[in-house]
């Protein structure tokens, strides 16, 4: 029955992301919105093994993990609507969701979840033996010095810190492999970190590995590096040009390339080979960006549902159940004014 529970967790996380997307589209949530769609299996697989006293540090896609840790969805939504009754009284917003009760903190500075979790893990080790800390971050963050430093620190200080690298292969519009040398596993191993790779689209695989690893860490405090392939189903952020391009290849694609083609033939500059190479690179990136969104095989929910259905499990009732909860959540929230409109009252 564990599978179904995990699936339910994933459906719930996804549903909340989609609620956010809706409010964001409506203009009721401001600023950048980095959805965690595509990361649900990692979030569910890891959080399932966390317990009270464990701490997590999160990056700019904090919501799936927070949802699955049990942070009140209404509080989170209210926060993103900028309301006084929000999780952080409207002060933090989407990238800065904090729940002291859950020992969970997020940050929009790439790589900063590493040092923060090192501190969490130090406290666990000193004050709450048996507890651990988890740092979630993307593969792009693996190039941020403070994160690398914290890997060294965690090994040197024997901290019960689980590093979870969500490798969706992208950092905004950059293919991470183009700017990341060596392999991530070898890099982590180079710090003396015990490592394991896991299919981050397969929730059972994540849950199993995380369970083993976390179990060991509770007994014998030491860090671990988990590399989980994930996908970025909604591009870097809601409404970013690559997402729009994926949704409307002709319109957005044309717009993006108006600027570029104009300069393809401009006098003074590199030779034609170099220019064509640049153009091909850009075209390839835009083409690639459409893959994740279009292909079901990169969606952890789709994959898990398939597995469960093949095993004769009923996934539909779970989906319906969660859908109802989300409707209630949405209904319970009145948005007086979109984020971009008049800055009027924001009551429940």
């Amino acid at each position: 029955m564990v599978e179904l529970e995990l699936y339910k967790a994933m459906v719930r996380a996804r549903a909340f992301e989609l609620v956010l997307a809706e409010f964001w589209e409506a203009g009721a949530i401001s600023g950048e919105m980095h959805l965690g769609t595509g990361e649900e299996a990692v979030a569910a697989g890891v959080t399932r093994h966390l317990r009270s006293g464990d701490a997590v540090s999160l990056d700019h896609r904090p919501t799936p993990v927070l949802t699955l840790l049990g942070v009140d969805l209404q509080l989170m939504l209210a926060e993103m609507l900028g309301r006084e009754d929000g999780l952080c009284r409207g002060r933090g917003g989407h990238m800065h969701l904090f729940s002291k009760t859950h020992l969970a903190a997020s940050s929009g500075i790439v790589g900063s979840s590493g040092p923060l979790a090192a501190g969490f893990a130090l406290t666990a080790k000193l004050l709450r033996p048996g507890n651990i800390a988890v740092a979630f971050f993307g593969e792009g963050a693996m190039n941020q010095g403070m994160l690398m430093e914290s890997m060294n620190l965690a090994v040197a200080w024997k901290l019960p810190l689980l590093f979870v690298c969500k490798d969706n292969q992208w950092a905004i519009t950059t293919r991470s492999v183009d700017v990341t040398a060596g392999s991530l596993l070898e890099r982590a191993a180079g710090f003396g970190l015990p490592c394991q790779e896991v299919d981050g689209l397969d929730v059972m695989a994540v849950a199993e590995t995380a369970g083993d690893v976390i179990g060991q860490m509770r007994k014998n405090p030491q860090p671990f590096f988990l590399l989980a392939r994930t996908s970025r189903l909604d591009s870097h952020q809601m409404g970013d040009p690559m997402r729009r391009m994926a949704q409307h290849p002709v319109g957005e694609g044309g717009k993006t390339f108006g600027n570029v083609t104009k300069h393809l033939l401009a006098p003074r500059g590199s030779g034609p080979v170099t220019r064509i190479k640049s153009l091909m690179h850009l075209l390839a990136l835009l083409g690639d960006s459409r893959k994740d969104v279009r292909e079901h095989k990169t969606d952890p929910l789709f994959l898990t549902r398939q597995q469960l259905e093949q095993a004769g499990q009923d996934t539909e009732s779970i989906e319906q159940d969660v859908a109802r909860q989300m409707e209630q959540l949405v209904d319970s929230v009145q948005v007086d004014s979109p984020a971009g409109g008049a800055h009027g009252k924001h009551d429940l």
Partner: protein, 343 residues
């Protein structure tokens, strides 16, 4: 004369400089997309997409500048300079002094700053006061396309390190990328005259350290820069209706700072109001107070600044940032005080 957006004006200055001098290069995260036109034209030998490693690629820009290149290094948002502060504070700013004036570091740190689109306190700072406190740096904060164009030209040609701050509310491309993102459902209080405007065809570079009087008046001097300048101009219109005739100065550079223009104006009006989107404490607003006092003036003085970590909620954010209403109120209070005490 061409009419263009603020961001296009900067991009054009960069484009022209790259065409004129092959030592000018761009480095930074996602620059292949953010500067796709430059990337297509100049290719991978001139435009370097970087890993998320600000402390090393800003540091590398210092080394590149010292050894013969003229890098424009992009740090997406100025808030992220936190991770690269060592390169700014201890290296680029100090090379010239440390080498006894024998070695310079001609580079531009191009970075987006400022709030007003609901992105929260870690992504909307300006921090120009922090940079301006460090000897050895030039700090540029343009408020319109022509200035942005001219000052970027000067920055690239300058033989020392320049921090070039591009306010997101003026920069169509950044605002679109971080705030609007294709939505028609959000609105931003964008100063039209700052976001779009004419760039004279014969315009070349604009010297550093020249403030400009954007509006003349006798009752009160408002000094500002960036988006604050436009808020101040808007406030000045309203204040005119209240019978308060404001002079509004656009600083354009924090370092070097054009003290003379400020002093001349304040010696005329006897009242100084600083409008600064940066943090209030130990920043530009205080520096201007010191400058007028040092010059022997003793104006009535007030400031409208950012006094807290920027809250996420848009209504709180709007109150926290210097807005027209706060400026008008502060100006009215100042104007109500007796005229300048003595000069």
């Amino acid at each position: 004369m061409a009419n263009m957006t603020f961001s296009a004006a900067i991009d054009r200055a960069v484009m022209e400089a790259m065409a004129a001098d092959e030592c000018v290069i761009i480095m930074g995260e996602d620059v292949h997309m953010l500067r796709s036109a430059h990337y297509t034209r100049f290719g991978q030998q001139r435009v370097f997409p970087a890993p998320i490693s600000e402390s090393s690629f800003v540091g590398a820009a210092v080394g590149a500048a010292m050894s013969g290149l003229r890098p424009i290094v992009e740090v997406m948002l100025v808030d992220f300079v936190g991770v690269a502060m060592d390169a700014v504070l201890n290296h680029m700013a100090k090379i010239e002094t440390f080498s006894g004036g024998k070695w310079t570091c001609p580079l531009v740190v191009r970075t987006a700053c400022g709030g007003g689109y609901g992105d929260g306190g870690q992504h909307e700072q300006t921090l120009w006061g922090m940079f301006a406190s460090i000897p050895g740096l030039t700090i540029v904060v343009p408020s319109n396309p022509a200035d942005a164009y001219g000052l970027m030209k000067t920055a690239i040609a300058h033989d020392g390190p320049v921090i070039f701050l591009e306010h997101k509310l003026l920069s169509e491309s950044w605002l679109e990328f971080l705030g609007r993102l294709g939505r028609q459902t959000v609105a931003f209080d964008v100063p039209a005259a700052g976001a779009q405007g004419d760039v004279p065809a014969n315009m070349d570079s604009l010297p550093f350290g020249q403030a400009i009087v954007r509006r003349t008046g006798n009752a009160l001097t408002i000094v500002s820069l960036g988006v604050g300048l436009h808020r101040a101009l808007e406030a000045a219109d309203q204040l005119a209706e209240h019978g308060v005739d404001c002079e509004v100065i656009d600083l354009r550079c924090l370092q070097p700072l054009d003290a003379r223009t400020v002093i001349e104006s304040v010696s005329k009006t006897g009242r100084l109001l600083v409008v600064d989107e940066d943090y209030k404490s130990c920043g530009l607003s205080g520096e201007l107070a010191a400058i007028v006092l040092e010059s022997g003036l003793s104006p009535h003085y007030a400031r409208v600044c950012l006094e807290q970590t920027i809250p996420y909620a848009r209504h709180l954010e709007a109150e926290a940032l210097p807005n027209t209403q706060r400026i008008v109120e502060a100006a009215l209070r100042l104007a109500a005080g007796e005229k300048q005490r003595d000069v």
